[in-house]
Subunit: 563 residues, 2 copies
Amino acid sequence: MDQLTKNKANSTPLTPLTFLDRAAIVYGDSTSILYGDSISYTWSQTHRRCLQLASSLSSLGIRKGHVVSVLSPSTPAMYELQFAVPMSGAILNNLNFRLDDKSLSVILIHSESKLIFVDILSLSLTLNALDLFPSNIQRPDLVLIEDDTLAPYQIPSLPKNVSVINNTYEGLITKGDPNFKWIRPDSEWDPITLNYTSGTTSAPKGVVHCHRAAFVVSLDSLIDWSVPNQPVYLWTLQMFHSNGWSYPWGMAVVGGTNICTRKLDAPTIYRLIETHGVTHMCAAPVVLNILLNYNKSEPLRNTVNVLTGGSSPPAAILTRAESLGFNVSHGFGMTELVGVTISCAWKRGWDRLSAVEKARMKARQGVRKAGVAEVDVVGANGESVKHDGVTVGEIVVKGACVMLGYLKDEKATAQCLRENGWFYTGDVAVMHEDGYLEIKDRIKDVIISGGENLSSVEVEAVLYMHPAVKEAAVVARPDEFWGETPCAFVSLKDELKEMPTEKEIKEFCGEKLPRFMIPKTIVFKDELPKTSTGKIQKHVLRKVAGEMGSLALPPPQLLSSRI
Amino acid sequence: MDQLTKNKANSTPLTPLTFLDRAAIVYGDSTSILYGDSISYTWSQTHRRCLQLASSLSSLGIRKGHVVSVLSPSTPAMYELQFAVPMSGAILNNLNFRLDDKSLSVILIHSESKLIFVDILSLSLTLNALDLFPSNIQRPDLVLIEDDTLAPYQIPSLPKNVSVINNTYEGLITKGDPNFKWIRPDSEWDPITLNYTSGTTSAPKGVVHCHRAAFVVSLDSLIDWSVPNQPVYLWTLQMFHSNGWSYPWGMAVVGGTNICTRKLDAPTIYRLIETHGVTHMCAAPVVLNILLNYNKSEPLRNTVNVLTGGSSPPAAILTRAESLGFNVSHGFGMTELVGVTISCAWKRGWDRLSAVEKARMKARQGVRKAGVAEVDVVGANGESVKHDGVTVGEIVVKGACVMLGYLKDEKATAQCLRENGWFYTGDVAVMHEDGYLEIKDRIKDVIISGGENLSSVEVEAVLYMHPAVKEAAVVARPDEFWGETPCAFVSLKDELKEMPTEKEIKEFCGEKLPRFMIPKTIVFKDELPKTSTGKIQKHVLRKVAGEMGSLALPPPQLLSSRI
């Protein structure tokens, strides 16, 4: 028995790139991509175009291990590049087109990108970023992605210090060889993607994933969401965002129709849903908010399955979503884990619960997907926390979804990929009695007030219940006496008849929270600062709160009453 | 970039055993198993029972790498053992309970099985097999699986030379520790199963699969068949048959309800379908035949998805199946590939075809599942055949589904796991223009009777033992019920005092072969057709047998009793 081990046939590297060859056979005549009024491809065409593009990349000198960057919203080109770049042997570096030029240049330099595909609307940004390169550092070559669906535009004159490939995106496709043999990875551990974590911290970290991770996550993400054959999938999630949670590759498995769009406003999204009969979409909470705050009176004609991640959707949002015809699933993931890793798998027994109880269940992050080996919530010494819904610990993960590491950052890599074999997420959660976990906070978002850990997320959840509150973020304000106190930044809904006062908000919180959790400071803002992916930038608010300095000392009797 | 490679967290071995822990959390309160009128378990109970059983196996001295055998139809115990045996670290050896004692003893000796779980109705067979062990060879310990749903029975007295564990199956479960930490594989390449491809040969081939194969196939088999969450799955496929095509593990992923049954006659199957609202079932073609030839006037209340393999279903069968409410999918697999590897993925465009055309499309074996790396049809020099639907070649496969090899059989392993990196299936097919393949013939003269592969060479070997037989050749005779039955062409020795009858020859075979391998037709010939070099021309005989047509139909009740 010991003599039997892996052989050439069964150790063929696991890679999502094999999905596309198959899609061309099975779904060859079915629609792969729809975009605007004029662009419609079949899976056979998508397959051919990707091969041609990969072939052209090879001709341009792109080799195994090179980094190729892409700066684009979720257009057809963006979709094709998810396959074409790794099919050329290169590592796909999806970039956030909402970055500023400084951040973009830092990332491009760090990644040592050889070539960058740039959507026409991101050209100026890219040129500015390239202009910030020190003169001794090689700039990536630039390929322009034009877009006929846009209003007529002028291509700006290109500076001399930028090496622009003398061909557009479409030109490279036309020129490429449709019989190109795409470059298979030597090992399934070879890198396939490089993603930079969005800037909630100042120094971006380059997350590297391998072919095996992309393969396993693509499959188990389809199963976890029960995606049927040939869904109609709307790209309300930016593909650059953690590789579209693996669904660009997954759509090739099930032969879905990818509805591409660069606009993510409510009228556009609702129009696309109705026109194309969208069945599935992923969305950051902010996109879900946009949809639900839009004045839509008629419910959807057909159920649309929505998968959302990031912060947990408040009960009010979920109830509104369901009433419109959205079937909302909720998960937890991170770039380091190729998208959704833990999801709130629905239990049949919950069907019988009240709407509020249902929402409470659904707001929990849940359990690992079947393809993830292990997930736990652990205390400081690595011990599993009690399954009591109260004891907090850090979420840790084992499985094929875990990244290879951070590019050129051994220290950060070692911090989360520990010697004990676990990946540490940096997220704080409790484990409920039924084995579902619920995130309480990012570790750095925990506020320690008078020695008590308090979760900013819980305080935020209460603030969101207030009828006048649009958005809320709670951070620590330094305090001479308490160490820290919770400080809430709040934006209010438009067209309010009456503006709530600071006192009213505090009293509202006091009805639902223990006294030590009531924000001691309320700051009203027109708009909260956000990252390009729509996440509230707590580090900005934390800085503001830090500069406020300490509150006046409370009287001692208040202190004792708190404990 | 080169410094980033696999780490402890992401190289946690892929194994289907992690599915069960998760099922206990997500589907804890949902039904996992239904059997007869009295047995109903939840996923939480199944999880606990499997842990307890694995714990007891450990207590009995079962260790990593030991082989543990199971001889049972698809009962709850059989299902539990699919998890419990590998959870103890052992290798699961599912055995065909229709084998004869001689074949069973050969396999048990070859596998070096340490312990065998035996269904009460297979006890006599097992005892006879153990009795055939040479005295110097260690017999496996025996655990009896009792069954309260059967009519009262007497346990036969057990011979002294058999080491019977002093506890029944249920006793071992009761005794086990529900908090047992199941034994994780050291590597995903560690063996998880050992299956014998043909139960009856003097040189049996033991197919060994690893945890990784079982994991990947479980996931991609769910996707390929679009299995939704919480299906109701009827065990019309024997679980011993190529590990139930991975669905025992797959059901834990989606929290399905396993409807177990030991009877596979039409009334029972239809009753189970209606009673439990069955949504999915796998079935050998013979089971499908039984269902469709049964006099059922009313169509099914709900669509039942049927996955069938082996010989391709004729158009008439498919049409009848669809009219009753079965949605038939068709695939190709083999024990060496953990079940279905190639399936006839339905194309939307086919919806518009005529019933006959649809059936023609569906009868093709199809394309690889998304989780399989590569499939091709190749000529003698390894070159891909033309996609013309005419040129034949051998089906070759690469991917995680490919076995580790044959146990203690380097020669047979090397014959199919070639140096060029491909697994050679031994099946001859054409590739159609659209990339779907269709099997034309078998290289090794395998006859598929009732879903069981039987080797004509083995039957011939027995015929040759008969003192009156000069020459023998066995080929497939088409059969409406069984797909094929073995048909023997025999020439007799000269100067015989007494000519044997057809009945005598069959009885002679019956003493040495399991029932399904006994030739159902014996044709006496003065001379068998031969090539100039003296080789029997089987293709000539195959044509003769083909022209005989199907045997007279056995009455359905007789048929079902034989399964």
